[in-house]
């Protein structure tokens, strides 16, 4: 599923505007520990987290993740946002908590398209 479609399906906020909307989401990873994501996430996954600082984007870029979703109404830091736009990595936002958004995305990604 493309990032743009996920935004529509789940009414997500796209903090980064048009950046990276056509990236393909191939799965998800849930963690707030940076080394856990560094060591265990896979390319193409969308990363669900409550961390909002610039290093999140550094990791998303290094690991070729498809996008980042900030939960519970968190918003990205200024530097994170600038970096994400520059690298074309979408930062999305939701009011949902981690459990709920992860469940929704899980179901959407496993639907036969």
């Amino acid at each position: 599923m493309k990032v743009a479609e996920l935004i529509t399906q789940l009414s997500l906020t796209a903090f980064t505007g048009k950046a990276g909307l056509d990236r393909e989401i191939e799965g998800g990873y849930v963690s707030d520990l940076l080394s856990d994501v560094m060591g265990h996430s896979q390319a193409g996954q969308i990363w669900i987290t409550l961390q909002t600082h610039k290093n999140v984007i550094a990791i998303a870029s290094l690991k070729d993740l498809s996008a980042v979703i900030l939960v519970k109404g968190n918003t990205p830091g200024e530097e994170a946002l600038a970096q994400a736009i520059e690298e074309g990595i979408p930062i999305l936002g939701t009011q949902m908590d981690t459990f709920e958004i992860a469940g929704r995305i899980y179901n959407l990604l496993r639907q036969p398209s």
């Binding site: 940076l34 080394s35 856990d36 060591g39 610039k54 990791i59 290094l62 690991k63």
Partner: protein
């Protein structure tokens, strides 16, 4: 090919820039993506450890046709017990650093799991040197 990067302790905003620069170079050299991914994880973690635990450091990266060799030499407190530091979950990171999501105590094990050769030499009160080697045709 040789590159040198300087790292300041506490400078979390730029943490990851060495890993990012090396990733670009390896891509240009058409190195196997699996090996690029492994190398990037190791370099990122070793770089972050200088930022999180040391005062400052120098990273030397050497690439030839067979391998990438990265050497992280810092001035810092050193590691009293390297075996213990290697254990997953062991961390002396401060509360603030942990809140940012660093300090999970998984960095050194990430490096170990993603390198062909890892050497750590440390002197308490002086600093730490970490050396990572990854071979390009290691299957």
């Amino acid at each position: 090919m040789h590159f040198r990067y300087k790292i300041e302790g506490g400078d979390f905003t730029n943490a990851g820039s060495t890993a990012s620069a090396v990733k670009k170079v390896l891509k240009q050299l058409n190195i196997d993506p699996v090996i690029i991914k492994r190398t990037v994880v190791g370099i990122y973690e070793a770089e972050v450890n200088i930022v999180a635990h040391a005062y400052n450091g120098v990273i030397d990266v050497d690439i030839d046709e067979n391998r990438i060799f990265a050497r992280f030499e810092d001035a810092g407190p050193g590691i009293p017990d390297i075996t213990k530091a290697m254990e997953e979950g062991y961390s002396t990171a401060s509360e603030i650093v942990r809140e940012m999501g660093f300090g999970a105590g998984m960095g050194l094990s990430n490096i170990k799991n993603n390198s062909d050769k890892l050497e750590i030499i440390s002197q308490v009160g002086k600093g730490t040197t970490v050396e990572i080697t990854n071979y390009f045709n290691s299957k």
